[in-house]
C-alpha cells in the first residue's frame, strides 16, 4: 500500500488495524507472539491517531466515507478536533497498557488463553476507537457493543485469580446491555421522526421536527444509555467491581480509556446532535448532569476513603473523576467543555498510571492488594512506588502535575459561569481525595509489625517502564500543558461551534 493511500485512509486505520489484527492474535497460541500482534495493533492505531491529530491541528475537519458511500447514506468517520484528540488519548493509553501486559497478563490468566485474551484486547481498543470516530448513530451502537463485550471477556479473565471477576463481568454485561438497548431505543425514536442516522444530518433535521415529545423522549433514552456506559453516578455500579477484579493490565486499560469514549459521545450528543434544541439539552445539563456529577464526585470520594482493597479504591476514585468530567461538560460553556477534554486526557494518564503501579504490586505480592498488604512496599519497591506517588499527587491536583491543570481550567470555567457553590463543592471534594491518597502513602512507608511478606521477583523494567511513561507524562503535562490545552480548546470550540 502506498504512503498516499495510507495517509488518505488514516481515519479507518485507527479502527481497522486493531480490529483486523484481533483474529490473527486469536490464532496464535504463544503468549509472546500474540503480544507482538497486540503491540503492532495498538501501536499502529497510535501512529494513525497521532497523524490524524497533526492533520486537524490547523482547524480543518474532514469526514471519511466508508465504502465511498457519501453521508447521509453511508457511514462516515468524522475527524475533527474533538474526535482526533479523544482517539489520540485512548490510543496512547491502550498502547502503554499493552506494553505492561507482556509480563502482567500471562501471570494472571491461563497461558493457553493468552492469544484469545489479546484478541479481545485488540477488539476492545479498536471498538472504543470506532466509537469515537463514527458519525453514524446506529454504527455507534455496534461499536459500543463490540467494545463492551470484549471488555467483559477481559474482565472475566480475572477469574484466574479471583472468581468474583465472573460475577463482576456478568453484572457489567447485564447493566451494559440494558444501557446500550436504551441508547438504541432513543435512536429509534429520533430516526422515526427524522429519517436519518447520520449525526450531522440529525443535527440539521432535529430542530425542524414538530413532535417535540418524541425528540425529548429519544434524547432522554440516548443520554440515559450513554450515562450507563460512562459510569456516571448512579449508574456506575458496574464499574468498581469490574475494575477491581479484572486482571491488572486490563484494569489499567479500561480505567484509562473505556469510560472516556462514552463521555466523549455524551459531549457529542449534547453539543452537536441535539444542538438545535438547546432548551432540551439545557434541561438535561442543568437538572440531570450537573447534580449527578456532583453526587458522583462525593459518593466516589467518600467510598474511596473507606475502601480497603486498593483496586476498588481506585475504581471509586474513578467514579469521582468521571463526575468531574461530566460536571465540566455540564457547564456547557466552551471553557467548561475544554476543561472536560483536558481532564479526559489527564485522568487517563493519572488513573492508567495508578492501576499500572497496583499491577506491579499485585505481581510482587501475588495476592489481592489490600491496604495492609501494602505496608512498607515503599521501601521495597521504590521505583514503582515513586511512579505511583507522582500519579497520586496528580490525582489530588497539586501544582506541577497534570491534575492541577485540569483543576485550574475546571475552576476557571465554573467561576466564569458564576457557579461558585459548585466550585466550592469541587474543591472540598478534591481536599477529601487527599484523605484516601494520604492513607495509602502513609502505609507504603510504614514499617510492618512483623517480618516483611516475601515478594515474588524484583521490580523489572517490563513492569515499571510503562508506569513511568505515564508518570513522566503527568509531570510533563503539568509543566508544559500547552499542547493538551490547545487541543482541548480547539475541540471545545469545534463542538460548541455547532450551537451557534
Amino acid at each position: 500500500m502506498s504512503l498516499a493511500a495510507i495517509i488518505a485512509n488514516l481515519p479507518a486505520l485507527v479502527v481497522v488495524v486493531p480490529l483486523l489484527l484481533a483474529p490473527v492474535a486469536a490464532l496464535i497460541p504463544v503468549s509472546g507472539a500474540a503480544w507482538v500482534i497486540a503491540v503492532i495493533g495498538t501501536g499502529g492505531a497510535l501512529i494513525s491517531a497521532w497523524l490524524l491529530q497533526g492533520a486537524v491541528t490547523g482547524g480543518v475537519s474532514f469526514s471519511y466515507h466508508l465504502g465511498s458511500w457519501p453521508p447521509p447514506w453511508g457511514i462516515e468517520f468524522v475527524v475533527d478536533a474533538a474526535s482526533a484528540l479523544t482517539v489520540l488519548i485512548m490510543a496512547a493509553l491502550s498502547f502503554v497498557a499493552t506494553l505492561f501486559a507482556r509480563r502482567a497478563l500471562p501471570a494472571e490468566i491461563n497461558e493457553r488463553d493468552a492469544g484469545k485474551a489479546y484478541s479481545a484486547w485488540l477488539l476492545a481498543s479498536g471498538g472504543l476507537a470506532g466509537l469515537v470516530m463514527t458519525g453514524d448513530a446506529f454504527n455507534l451502537f455496534v461499536f459500543l457493543e463490540i467494545s463492551a463485550l470484549s471488555s467483559i471477556i477481559l474482565i472475566a479473565l480475572g477469574a484466574g485469580t479471583d472468581r468474583r471477576a465472573l460475577v463482576a463481568a456478568y453484572n457489567y454485561l447485564i447493566i451494559g446491555a440494558v444501557g446500550a438497548t436504551f441508547y438504541v431505543i432513543g435512536v429509534g425514536f429520533i430516526y422515526a421522526v427524522t429519517g436519518t442516522l447520520n449525526m450531522a444530518d440529525l443535527a440539521e433535521r432535529i430542530p425542524q421536527v414538530q413532535q417535540d415529545t418524541v425528540i425529548i423522549v429519544g434524547f432522554g433514552f440516548m443520554v440515559a444509555g450513554i450515562l450507563v456506559k460512562a459510569a456516571v453516578f448512579p449508574v456506575h455500579i458496574w464499574l468498581p467491581a469490574a475494575y477491581a477484579f479484572a486482571p491488572s493490565a486490563v484494569s489499567a486499560m479500561l480505567a484509562a480509556i473505556a469510560t472516556k469514549a462514552a463521555l466523549y459521545i455524551l459531549a457529542r450528543i449534547l453539543f452537536t446532535v441535539f444542538a438545535g434544541v438547546p432548551d432540551v439539552t439545557a434541561l438535561a445539563l442543568e437538572w440531570v448532569l450537573v447534580p449527578l456529577a456532583i453526587a458522583g464526585i462525593f459518593t466516589g470520594t467518600i467510598l474511596a476513603i473507606y475502601e480497603n482493597d486498593i483496586k476498588k479504591l481506585l475504581a471509586f476514585s474513578s467514579v469521582a473523576q468521571i463526575g468531574y468530567i461530566a460536571l465540566a461538560f455540564g457547564i456547557a460553556s466552551s471553557a467548561g467543555i475544554a476543561a472536560g477534554f483536558i481532564h479526559i486526557g489527564n485522568h487517563a494518564i493519572i488513573k492508567g498510571g495508578m492501576f499500572l503501579a497496583v499491577g506491579g504490586y499485585f505481581l510482587a505480592l501475588r495476592s489481592r492488594v489490600s491496604l495492609s498488604a501494602m505496608t512498607g512496599l515503599g521501601r521495597r519497591m521504590p521505583i514503582t512506588t515513586t511512579g505511583f506517588l507522582i500519579c497520586g499527587l496528580s490525582l489530588i491536583g497539586l501544582p506541577l502535575t497534570a491534575g492541577f491543570i485540569s483543576k485550574l481550567y475546571l475552576v476557571r470555567a465554573l467561576i466564569a459561569e458564576d457557579m461558585i457553590l459548585v466550585m466550592i463543592l469541587v474543591l472540598v471534594s478534591s481536599a477529601l481525595s487527599v484523605a484516601y491518597l494520604w492513607k495509602i502513602v502513609e502505609i507504603l512507608w510504614q514499617r510492618p509489625e512483623g517480618d516483611d511478606v516475601p515478594l515474588h521477583g524484583d521490580e523489572t523494567p517490563a513492569l515499571y517502564l510503562p508506569l513511568w511513561i505515564l508518570a513522566i507524562a503527568n509531570l510533563w503535562l503539568g509543566v508544559a500543558p500547552a499542547p493538551l490545552v490547545d487541543a482541548a480548546n480547539r475541540a471545545a470550540m469545534h463542538l460548541v461551534g455547532g450551537i451557534s
Partner: protein, 141 residues
C-alpha cells in the same frame, strides 16, 4: 381528547412493544436467577427489534425489492438492516452472558444472585490457593 379505544385499535403494535419492554426490564431487575435475568434481557431487546420494524413498516407497503412499476410503496428497508445487526449483537450478548453463567455455576455452585453474593463474601481465592490453605488448617486441627 385521547380516546383509549383508538389507542388500542390504532397503536396496538406500540402497546405490544411497551408491554414487552417493561416486562423484560422488570424481569432483569427483579429476578435473582442469573439465567432468568438473561431471558428478561432478551425479551427487552426483542421489544426494541419489534419497535424498529413497526416503525419501518409502511401501511400497504411492499417488501423493498425494486419493482419496475413506478407507483409502488415500499416499506423502509433500513430498520430491518439495523435490526439484523442488533439481533447479531443480541445473540453475542446472550451467548456471552450464558457462558459467564456456566462459569459462575462452576465456580460458585449456584446461579442465584443472592447465594452467589453471600459466597462472594467468603474466601474468593482461586482453587489451588484455597485448597492449600484448607489442607493447612486441617493439618493443624
Amino acid at each position: 381528547m385521547i380516546d383509549p379505544v383508538s389507542i388500542i385499535t390504532d397503536s396496538w403494535n406500540y402497546l405490544i412493544v411497551i408491554c414487552l419492554m417493561m416486562g423484560g426490564l422488570f424481569i432483569v431487575i427483579s429476578q435473582n436467577n442469573l439465567v432468568k435475568k438473561l431471558v428478561g434481557l432478551a425479551i427487552f431487546q426483542t421489544s426494541v427489534f419489534l419497535f424498529y420494524i413497526t416503525v419501518g413498516k409502511m401501511a400497504g407497503g411492499t417488501a423493498p425489492i425494486l419493482l419496475d412499476s413506478a407507483d409502488v410503496a415500499y416499506s423502509n428497508p433500513l430498520p430491518h438492516v439495523l435490526i439484523l445487526t442488533a439481533i447479531v449483537v443480541g445473540v453475542a450478548t446472550t451467548a456471552l452472558g450464558l457462558a459467564l453463567v456456566l462459569r459462575i455455576h462452576a465456580a460458585f455452585g449456584s446461579i442465584e444472585d443472592d447465594e452467589v453474593l453471600t459466597i462472594k463474601a467468603e474466601a474468593a481465592l482461586p482453587r489451588v490457593t484455597r485448597a492449600a490453605s484448607e489442607t493447612d488448617s486441617e493439618a493443624r486441627s
